[in-house]
């Protein structure tokens, strides 16, 4: 629907490089309005930053807002494929939107590089050679948090997540690793912004800890209301609940909370330093993990473009699968199902120079691959 900054990067940089190969057209469908817009904006900004830093003149990026609605995302995908004839689709934040778009798009021969959503179906039975996930399989960060909960000695955790594919994956992931008992398990409505009832149940449950996965505005609303509720059970969650885009909105309520992430801005590497610095300079704020995923997605595509022509689908796919790029998170490679095998860290929310942010405090799981890879028929 909404056309935002798009036509862009290529046009800006057209004068610096000669035409090397056919232009690659990328269609980005992401959430730029409503409660989940911070995620989409960070993915977009990270993606654009990578293109800008690489001086990629042969990439044409088109960006559209899906407003977090599956039908809109589907419509945009059709438009990108049929009208704009893009080579690669990317950008979807939400698993339910991904499920509406990805299977039919990849089946029609369009490549899809996921910078965020990684629903379990697409990692297992319904994996596809045209689908690459450069972020994580949905369960990953939650699995990491489950193993962290064991280490932290929690015995009675209350868990909640929104009722959509990523939400069910999240709780499944947590439970896969967590060894203690559950004080309660709740699925909330996607986009819900009043958690009075849930908080009351947490209070009544006698839990010793709370694990929650509520991305975007939902997490802000939950944490603010949780802080006011007077319930003082420690909370933990995946990075999504404490990512840089929403920490300022949550405020001091988040301080000291543990969360799991495959990335942190304090990972020491040349490429990460370049990314964090470049992001701050370009947008005047700290990057979130979503931005890092957008950045990696763009770099993955650029690495493939250096090796193969996009018009040769087989060759280009193979180039993507090699994942021959420097990821900001450190080691990165694809498993058989085109999902990452990577380390996952535990971070803690701290205050640094007056800004609330995250700091890596340890590694939760090393070289982790998702639980669905074996169900995928790809090699």
């Amino acid at each position: 629907m909404k056309k935002l900054v798009s036509a862009g990067v290529a046009a800006l940089l057209c004068c610096t490089a000669g035409v090397a190969q056919a232009e690659v057209k990328i269609g980005m469908i992401t959430t730029l309005s409503g409660g989940g817009s911070t995620l989409g904006i960070d993915v977009r900004d990270g993606f654009e930053l990578a293109l800008k830093q690489a001086g990629a003149s042969d990439v044409k990026l088109l960006v559209e807002d899906d407003a977090r609605k599956p039908d809109v995302a589907k419509k945009l995908a059709d438009k990108f494929i049929q009208k704009d004839k893009v080579d690669i689709l990317t950008g979807i934040i939400w698993s339910n939107l991904a499920m509406a778009v990805v299977p039919s798009a990849t089946r029609k021969g369009t490549l899809y590089v996921s910078p965020n959503a990684g629903p379990s179906a697409l990692a297992g039975k319904a994996c596809h050679e045209n689908y690459f996930n450069v972020a994580w399989q949905n369960d990953n960060l939650h699995e990491a948090m489950g193993s962290h909960a064991n280490k932290a000695g929690y015995k009675k955790t209350f868990i909640l997540a929104p009722n959509y594919p990523a939400g069910t994956d999240a709780l499944k992931g947590f439970k896969r690793m967590y060894k203690g008992e559950l004080a309660g398990e709740l699925f909330t409505k996607l986009g819900q912004d009043d958690y009075a009832a849930e908080i009351a149940q947490i209070r009544a449950s006698g839990a010793d800890s709370v694990f929650f996965f509520l991305p975007g505005g939902m997490g802000i609303a939950f944490m603010k209301q949780y802080a006011q509720s007077g319930v003082d059970v420690p909370v933990m969650g995946p990075a999504f609940s404490f990512s840089q885009d929403i920490l300022p909105a949550i405020g001091d309520a988040a301080l000291g909370v543990a969360n799991s992430s495959q990335w942190g801005k304090d990972i020491e590497s040349e490429v990460n330093a370049k990314f964090v610095k470049g992001f701050k300079e370009a947008y005047g704020r700290l990057p979130s993990l979503y931005a890092s995923q957008g950045y990696d997605a763009a770099n993955l595509i650029l690495s493939a473009m250096a090796k193969a022509d996009v018009s040769d689908k087989d060759e280009f796919r193979a180039a993507l699968k090699e994942a021959d790029f420097a990821s900001v998170r450190g080691d990165f490679k694809f498993g058989n199902n085109n999902h990452p095998i990577q380390d996952i860290y535990v971070r803690e929310v701290i205050k640094e120079d007056g800004q609330i942010t995250n700091k890596i405090v340890g590694v939760a799981i090393k070289g982790h691959q998702d639980a669905y890879a074996s169900k995928c028929r790809m090699k």
Partner: protein, 329 residues
Amino acid sequence: MQQTDTAPQSVTMPKFNRETLVNIAVMAILLALPLWASSIGEDYYVNLASLITIFAIAGVGLNFAIGQGGMVSFGHAAFFGIGGYTTGIAAFHSFEETLFMAMPFAISGTNQMLIIWIVAMVLCGLAALAIGAISLRTEGVYFIMITLAFAQMIYYFAISWPTYGGEDGLSIYLRNELPMVDAESALTFFLICFILLLGSIFVSARLSGSRFGAALGTARMNETRLATSGIDPFPIKLTGFVISAMITGLAGALFAELNGFVGPSMLSWHRSGEIMVFVILGGVGRLYGPVIGAALFVLLETYIGEWTEHWQLLLASPCLVSFSSPEAV
């Protein structure tokens, strides 16, 4: 909408007044553009034309209720959605090779469009029968609100039914099939929709001109007259409501095929409002009005949406002026 009769002998001669010319022109353009777009390989525009056509069918359905029967339904998204979900659910079971219902009624999914259309229309008819039977006992605002409330109930029901996607909706990975033709082809699918649009307009015109149509029209203009003439308004209106819902339901089934996706947004009250806008933009009660309305709406959305995200503002402002000025459209 002055339907002043002409002398009987001239009835057989079509009147070539301006409205007729506009109608013919609109239909010709609607047919010609996708043919041309398809010939140069731009399926996107073919699908855009299909979308217009499908919305027009939905509008024809609602127009029958509002323009002919005076029943201002603010819940037609319910029928649009039921039509859509019928397609989605049938395709889902056909794809997963599961049964829709276990014993004692084993119903398997199907990917045959003809069957799906019939089932969709029947289901919409039944839903309309139930909704209408209650709603039509009220009038005016109450009718508007009750139809809205029913549609909302179905919307919430769809959201909370996880088997069929709940909030996330259902994807239809492969378009369903029609005998002898390749419905997967954009142009073929457009032609199917176009024929169904012509069919629905024809049916709606025939019905309006029939004895039943005369009774339904009187129910709109003056219900007292109808009752005084010895015709119970309720069954007449209910039948009209059901027919209207069935046409809109067919549009919903086609919409699901076109998008390859059904979701609760098909059932939302915004959708009801949009279908109403098609009817109003084209002129309430005008047979071809919804075609013009749907075309305007889709083109505005597509092209004004290209250069400003606030296209709805541009849509709403003139609407507001026309609805609130003394001499309406």
